[in-house]
Symmetry: C2
Subunit: 123 residues, 2 copies
DNA sequence: TCGCTGGATAGATGAACGTCTAAGCAGAGC
DNA sequence: GCTCTGCTTAGACGTTCATCTATCCAGCGA
């Protein structure tokens, strides 16, 4: 759990990596990036990220997340841990409750990677 | 294997889905989209997509792909099948060789999903 | 201090995954 | 028709994953 919650601007790390379709990914980067995509490769986790990122105020209490899914509390906790380890979300404990928020830099990085270059740019 | 190879413009399906951070993903969409992310969640497959999408001419022969990886031919074939079933790539046989190309609509759809809305757009 | 609540961790279990070797199939050329 | 090459499919095997129940830990209030 880091302390500083970033504002959801999406301008921090727009262009760390070139788009997938512009030049091949280096093997070293592939492992790192694939881990992030793998974290998103589960319906429950994808919905979790979406709920967290789209929530008003930019952060959500776990207690608001758990009842929205059919799986058990520990399972949600496990999925949140996977997403956190992938760098997609972060959290902080405040008293009894734990709050999660999205890390826009990581989302933007992945989005930029999948962006297909415009025709004018490639030829 | 479908017959028509689309040009890599990336303008076809810019906005099928709202960004993740704009509104929660519907459970029905989540399964579909998570499958695509899961397909990208393997280093070998991520590099395959990258090599295919960034290749000059927009398509690659399998024979050019296989020697660039440490895994066996059947394994590459398996990964290509997974990517094809996820709708990320498509292929066509031409005589002895099989050619693969990226499906820009799917890449753009995923990119749009991960796009973090600009601050001016949300408030 | 004691009990309650919110959430994380530990361990178990069945399913899915990544990889391999062996075999099959489709074209091309002799 | 036969054989060679390129690629896919089939089946096996060990690992990883998603989920559960049981347990633990942290903070709060009486």
């Amino acid at each position: 759990m880091s302390k500083q919650r970033p504002v959801l601007t999406g301008t921090e790390a727009t262009g760390c990596c070139s788009p997938l379709a512009e030049q091949p990914i280096a093997a070293a980067d592939a492992a790192d990036l694939a881990a992030a995509f793998k974290a998103l490769g589960d319906p429950t986790r994808l919905q979790l990220v979406s709920l967290i990122a789209s929530h008003a105020g930019g952060e959500v209490c776990v207690c608001d997340l758990t009842p929205r899914f059919a799986v058990s509390g520990p399972t949600i906790s496990h999925h949140l841990k996977v997403l956190r380890q992938a760098g997609l979300i972060d959290c902080e404990r405040r008293g009894t409750w734990v709050y999660y928020w999205a890390v826009p830099a990581m989302l933007t990085r992945l989005a930029g990677l999948l962006q297909v270059p415009q025709p004018a740019a490639v030829r």
